[in-house]
Structures are given as C-alpha cells and as structure tokens.
Amino acid sequence: MPDGVIGTGIGAVVKRVEDFRFLTGNGNYTDDINRPGQTYAYMLRSPHAHATINSIDTAVAEAAPGVVAVFTGDDMQVGGLPCGWQIHSEDGSPMHEPPHPSLAQGKVRHVGDQVAVVIAETLEQAKTAATLINIDYGILPAVMDMKAAEAGGTLVHEEIETNKCYDWGIGDKSAVDEALASSAHITEIDIVNNRLIPNAMEPRAAVAEFNKATSEYTVYTTSQNPHVIRLLMGAFVLSVPEHKLRIIAPDVGGGFGSKIFLYAEETIITWASTKVGRPIKWTAERSESFMTDAHGRDHVTHAKLGMDENGIFTALKVETYANMGAYLSTFATSVPTYLYATLLAGVYKTPVIYANVKAIFTNTVPVDAYRGAGRPEASYLLERIVDRAAREMGIEQVDIRQRNMISADAFPYQTPVALEYDSGDYQATLASAMKLAETSGFDLRKKESQARGKKRGIGYSTYIEACGIAPSAVAGALGARAGLYESAEVRVHPTGSVTVFTGSHSHGQGHETTFAQIVSEQLGIPIENIEINHGDTGNVQFGMGTYGSRSLAVGGEALLRATNKIIDKASKIAAHCLEAAVDDIEFKEGNFTVSGTDKSMAFGEVALTAYVPHNFPHDELEPGLDETAFYDPANFTFPGGCHICEVEIDPETGVTEVKNFTAVDDIGRVINPMIVEGQVHGGVAQGIGQALLEGCSYDSDGQLLTGSYMDYTMPRADNVPNFKVGTQSTLCTHNTLGVKGVGEVGAIGSPPAVINAIVDALSDMGVTDISMPATPSKVWQSIQSAKASS
C-alpha cells in the first residue's frame, strides 16, 4: 500500500462493499421492480430462421382472458434499431445498413425474431394468448454459411442486394505481398473463432412506464450504459427527447458485453406503454436469452505469417469473414474491424501487416461485442499462428516469442495497424509468468503424466489488447457515431460525506468499491463516507457506460479529475478561512494546512464552510463543493501479459483437464488487488470455456441446436484449476492513475494458451491443430484422424 493510504485508498485490499446486498439477496434487479397496475409482455418469436410473414391473425388472441393488447409490426411504425459505428469498405463505399425493426416487418430473419407482443394482466395469460395468434409463414432457405452467402443466392435483406455488409481492409497490402514473397518461410493457418452465447446470470429484462401527467417515460432495464440506451431509443427509434425519457439500470447481474446494446424488447414495451396506458414488464426466459442476446465472436480466418531464416516475422496477412447475424447490433460493425485488426501486431515487431475483413449477414442471432470483443479473436489468431510457426521452424515457443517481441525501450511503439502502444515490458511479463508457472519443471510433470497413460502439454500466449476506449477524435475519425469520454460528479455534502455520480456502470465489476478507493485516497476520507451512484439517467450526468475494460481507465480518471477540482475549490475555501494565500495551502491526509504553520482545517470543516458561507467574498468564491469532470483519453490503454496453460489429456476418452493455469498481466496500477484477481479468474474461466466447452451450434436450417444448458456447455468450478495469478505492471503513460484496465484480459489471453497446450500434448501423435471448443469428442476424433494418417 502506498504511503499515506488510510486503509481504504489506492492499492488496498478492500472487501467489496456491494457484496453484502448481493450475497444476502438484497440486490434490486430490474425484475424485482414492480409498478402499480403493471401488465406483462410476452414476445411471440419466429420459429423459422428465414421466412416471409404472409399474414398474422391476432383476433382470437386479443379476445383471450386477461389480454390487454396485441401488437405486430404493422402497429409499431417507428424508427429501426440504429447501428453506432459506420464502417467504409476498402473501395470507399459506406457499409450496408438494412433496417432493423423491433417487430418484424413482413419477414423474419432468425429463430427468435420478434413477430408480435402480447400484453396481458399476467404472464401466463400473455403466453396462452400468444399460442392463439395465427401466422402464415412462407419459409425461405436459411443463409448460414458465410462464404456461400458472400457469393450470393438467397438474400437475408433483399433491399441491399447482397449479403455482404462491408469489405474492409487495413494495412499496406502490396508491402505485405512483397514481404511474403521474399520470406524464407511462410506459416499458414485456418482459424475458426467459435460463436459464443453470453449467458449473464441475470437474463435481460425491462419495465416501462409512461406518466400521462408529465409525458415522461421511465424505463428500468438491464443495461451497461443507460445514457447510450436513452440516446439511441429516444433519438433514433421513438422520437422522445432526453428530458422526457429516464433510463434506470439498477443492479445488473452481469453483462459481458451483451447488455451494451439497444434491444428490440425494451423498445417495444416502452412504445407500448403509451398505447396501453399502464406499466409493462418483460423478462427474458433463459431460452429467450439463448436466441436473442447478441452472440459473440464467430470469425472464419485464413492467415499467413512470413519469416526470415531465423524465425523473425517479416509480414502478416489476414483474411477474415465475420458473421454479423441477421441484423446489425449496436456496435457489431466495429468489433471485427477496429477492435480486432488493429491488434494484429500483438506484442511483436512484425513490420508490415494487412488484414481484410468481410462482414456477412446470415439468418442467425446478431453478433456483437462479448468480453474482449475483437481482441480475443486477434490474440487467438496470432498466438496460434506463432505457435505453429515455432513448430514448423523448429524454434522453442518461448524463443520465437522473445526473438520477435517489441523491446521494453521501444515505447511509444507505432504498429503497422494504426495503434501506438504507450508502455509495456513483454519480456518481463513472460519471464514472470514462466517463473510462477514453474515451467522448468514441466518435463518432469510430463513424464509423470505419461506414466499414468496421459498426454501432457504446455501452451503459451503472450498477448496484448487495447482498452480504455477511446479517444473520441480517433473513434470519430474511424466511424464511431458517439464520443467515448466518461464523466464523474463529486458532490461533497455539508458534513463532509461524498456522493459520486459516475457515467460508468457496475454490473459485477465492483465499482462501488474501486471508485470509492480513489476518492478515499484523494480526499483522505474513510470509504464509509463515500457513496458511488450510477445507472440512473435521472440523476447522473451524461456518461458512456461500461464496456471494453474502460471504467477505471476512463471513468476512474474522470473521477480523479473531479476530485482534483474538489481539492482546488476546497483549498480556496481553506485559504480564505485561514487567511492565507491559496498557493500556501497544502492538502494532505484529509487536512488543509498553511505550509510552515500549524494552522489547518479538516476536510469536513471545509465542506461545512462551503455550505455555510457566512463570510465568503462572493465575487471571488462561490458557495458549495460539487464538481464535475468529463475526461476524454489521449490514447487507448494497452494491457497485456503472458498466460501459460498446462493440460493433461486422456487419449482414450479425449478428455482435457487443465492442470495448471498461470496468468501474469500488465494492467497498469492496481487499485484493489483482490478485485483484480477476481476479474482475472472470471475472465480466464470464460476463456477456458471458449477453448474447451462453449460453442454455439446451428443446423443448416438455422435452428439453434445449443438452445439450453442441456446442450450449451458453460464452464463450471470443476472445469478450471486453482489459478496462479500475478501482475507485472508498467504504468499507462497518458492517464494520471496509470491504470490500463483488467476486465477482459483473462478472456483475451487464455484461449490460445489452452489450445496451444492441447496441440503440444498431442503433437507427437501428429496432431497440428484443433478447433475450439476442444471437446472430448473433438480431441478424440483428432487423435483418430492423426492415427489414421500416420
């Protein structure tokens, strides 16, 4: 703990203050909220992946017991759900943006697409009535395969005359082709980044209410960014001005990205609340979450890595197909472009890189950001191709990485794919992880496994990612339709306690603790005197919310700057009271002192004076102690690190057990080490989930085969080992806190470490690749194929 910390400041292991209410069942989630006269909405969803709606007959349903109203797309003629990031194709043309209606307009495009909403006195009545709606569908072939869809044939959206949303590129293609042509060796790889279903513990839900007296809407919803929802829903879909639309995201039970986006259901019930004149509640059932929460990943990639005779990388060429699903979700278009291809340098000095990304519409659930969003796809691709390159070149895994890493004295480092890394020491995180993982003992452990008939392997991942999204100017130049700053208001009360209003949103991250620690450190007051308030557009200034590991790096920095403003103002008040010059006031450990004297005032005394300004010179000094800061970062932050995985495989059954998992991450300054450790644990568990267990599967008709926990495998406690977690940090150079962000590192760094370990374990049998998720069945099949071809 740094000097001067009073036990709850920066670097302290403070227990999460929010956990008491969560663990004792006293959280207040959207579904816990009930309004007088509330009705219930049930969404009738398409059972078909692709079909025209020839007719809908709702007459019988409308007459069913308890039914208040039934609406279809014909009734809801409002704006479509907008996409927040415009991408331009390489030829300069803007991306195709087909309409994204909340209720289907004449056609359904994925299983689960909303066709009608039934609003009734009870949910059971709404569900029963929904079975009485008669729909005549004209079933169309489902567009499922991205490469076939690119070629044409059946169109998901006829009006855009193609299934390709954009055909985007970054980097110098001719320089890459040239460098590859003169490379001593080229390693090639085909990579599928498996589609994932988010599975937040709390399903999405919303309660919408329209107040006739004030013409004001209040919407409780499960969101990571309520102000963004207010802007998108109000300005683009329903034409409701912000001062008449209040969005409240109360306690939210996990998001992982899936609760960033504006969804149809919250929009439908907000619109319908004026029609029925009563509050409406909608809560997703788990099976609805599977078929409507935006999915993650789903890339198909071919890549080539050129090397000289010493294994030094000369060029990287990447061609990726990215699945958009049936419609463009809010940030879908940015994920496989600026959040993916800009990370393809990784931690390496590859001099030239070119990536082409084709975004394709299919008859599947929309795909958007999911923990890591683009960066796991980049790290997986890079760390897999580097692993293969090492094997082909006969170079040790550690060695090939060390030979190619950007050195610690090379920062700031400009990559060939737009980003400028500010700080890092990749050799140090690698060395630190190897020590923690006791890699020197691996050979012995492998022998021991062999003696038990098991195959043991070790896999490395030295990854980097970009967080703290984003400098608004950069994002804007790249097509973002929003700024990406963050805001904080610090309101000091007359007796010295503090309420913070942050535009960030906490849905499991522990902001109520971490942010309070920053205030405690800055103002020298105990954490019990600080309340962190977020999630209600009715009382929080405009903010951009939580995603992309940005809360601390952007929101925390905004908070720090607001506390600096508080200290400045309080110093002026203290100077006035103590009859000193403001430059002579020192603030330390919660006391304002006239330097060189024993004259001082405690923070609480200054706060009281601010609100009881009996002798303020009002032309120089305003009453009150309440400051706001908006912070727009100068650059992204670049957390990175080294993950090392050891697996043991039972060759008879194909079962892979993760025996050891070590993560050493560079996340900048650590505010709360315990929360950091928890974030890494959760992220790595999700990464192991992607690598070994989770895979969304559709059949060729577009039916979701993994539509429940019977078939979609979530990671459980017995799927993961006790993690070894460490930090080896360099400080971010462009924010005062020196923080980089930790929310996604686990999910970004871990999948390639797991797969590389499996390939290592099976390499002596001739296995060179295995796709995610590496299920027992797939591992067994790989072993059989390798046996058959040897």
């Binding site: 059971e124 569900k127 008879e652 495998t713 979530m714 299920t775 027992p776 069945s777 099949q781 059989q784």
Partner: protein, 264 residues
C-alpha cells in the same frame, strides 16, 4: 404451463383410482422431468396425481436383495449405508445423478418409468437383473425397457418398488455429456457367479441395452484386458453434436474396461 387438476394422494389405491378417473392423467413422483416439461408447455395432462405423500413407497429394504420403494430419492439411496454395503455400485450411481437438488427430489420410480435414454438407473436395472414391481405385477428388467422413453407399463400402472439381486461384483462408469452431465455413455457391469451382465445407457438409439459382445468377452474372463480386442458397432448408436456414434462406440469399451477394473 397449461392448466391441470392437481391431486395429492396418500396411498397406492387412491392414486390409481384417481388416475383411472382422469381423462389424461399422469403420476408425478419427484417431478424432475415432468415439471420442466410442463413449464415449457411441452406436455398438457388434464390431471396430475402427486404420489409424494404415499409414504409406503419410500422404504428401502436390504435383505437377500436390495428393494427400493419407487419413491426412494436418489439422495436417500446414495446415503443409505445398507445399500452402500450391499451393492456399492448402486449407491455410487445414485450419488452421480444430476445435482443435489435433483437428487433430493428425483426418485428411482420416476427415473425408471420415464426411461430417458441417458438416465442412469435403467443401466443398473438391466445389468443387475432387477425386478420392477407395480400395483399389478412383477416385470423383469429385460422385459421392462422397450425403447426410448418406452416401457412395459400399461395405462394407470404404478411402479411400487424395484428390487436388485446382490451381485458378486459390480460397478458403474459414466462418461457425462459436458453440458447436461447426463450420460453420453454409462456402462454398468455386474458379475453373478460366472454370469456377466452388462448394460449401456446414453448411447443406444433405442435406449438402454445389453452389449452381447462385451458380455461374451467378460464371461470368459472378468478383466479389463479381456476387452482389448472387443469392439462395438456404431451402427445402432446415437450421434449428436456432443458425440458421434464411433466415439460412443469407443467410449463404451473404455467405460466397460474401467468399470470392470473398479468392480467390487
């Protein structure tokens, strides 16, 4: 959930009588399959006859054989020291069904009557040559399981107990589906004197079955190595996104070997 009439009954006679009077009735034991099915509106019985209050069906009796009342929960079987010492494999099997919530509600009668192709108990019944007793008759396991979700039970017939002869050696090895943790392959091996009985659940496209190839190999020597050259044809095995039939065929041999090695 569709509307239905709910009947709480307290003895076998009453339960059967109510069922006979119902238009489309169904017994409810632990409800671990029935309730989710109802909630998803995949079943619409007119009447549910709850037999949780029929206490005479709860008894566990161990003498020459192990007799489990049809309402014996998986937890009560798993935790019974008498069952554990008489047929340890049976207690182990019960301890591995579902999760604690399921084990505290789910019953052997419900499991056997439902005959889910991935359920564990049918493998124990078939391998241990169990006798299923109903309110009308006794049915041997070989005649009881007639296909996927199909049994020899007739309309209104109610299982009252399942009795298992004590084997000399037995063991159950389950390879769970990574997602649901139901059996992808579950193999129960049992040795009675020189007789070997083996049953496989989770893998057959017609439900639980006895693999004669394995029984023949083990009859000559009840050792894992006796199966070194034994193979199972994938032709009649299930194939799905979790396991193709050739993988299941391989797992059956592997699980059978491990069961034999573990048998006690």
């Amino acid at each position: 959930m569709h509307d239905f009439n709910y009947h709480k009954t307290s003895n076998i006679e009453e339960a059967v009588k109510v069922h006979m009077g119902a238009e489309d009735g169904t017994y409810m034991a632990g409800g671990q399959t029935l309730l989710p099915t109802l909630k998803q509106r995949l079943a619409a019985p007119t009447d549910i006859i709850d037999i949780a209050g029929v206490t005479e069906l709860n008894t566990i009796t161990v003498s020459d054989d192990v007799s489990l009342g049809s309402m014996a929960t998986h937890a009560s079987v798993a935790n019974s020291s008498e069952v554990s010492s008489a047929i340890p494999a049976l207690a182990t099997l019960a301890a591995g069904i579902g999760d604690p919530q399921v084990r505290n509600r789910g019953t052997i009668g419900g499991s056997v009557a439902n005959n889910d192709p991935a359920a564990d108990y049918p493998a124990a019944c078939l391998a241990l040559n169990a006798t299923i007793t109903t309110n009308r008759r006794k049915i041997v396991a070989d005649d009881f399981f007639t296909g996927m979700f199909e049994t020899a039970l007739e309309e209104n017939e109610l299982i009252t107990s399942v009795s298992f002869p004590k084997p000399d050696k037995a063991a159950y090895m389950k390879f769970p589906n990574p997602a649901s943790r139901y059996a992808i392959v579950g193999v129960f091996v049992a040795l009675f004197g020189t007789d070997v009985r083996v049953a496989v659940t989770g893998a057959g496209d017609n439900g639980v079955f006895r693999p004669t190839e394995i029984e023949n190999s083990l009859s000559s020597s009840f050792t894992a190595s006796a199966l070194d050259d034994t193979t199972i044809s994938p032709d009649d095995l299930l194939s799905d996104i979790h396991a193709q039939s050739d993988y299941r065929a391989s797992l059956i041999i592997t699980m059978a070997k491990r069961a034999v090695a573990a048998a006690s």
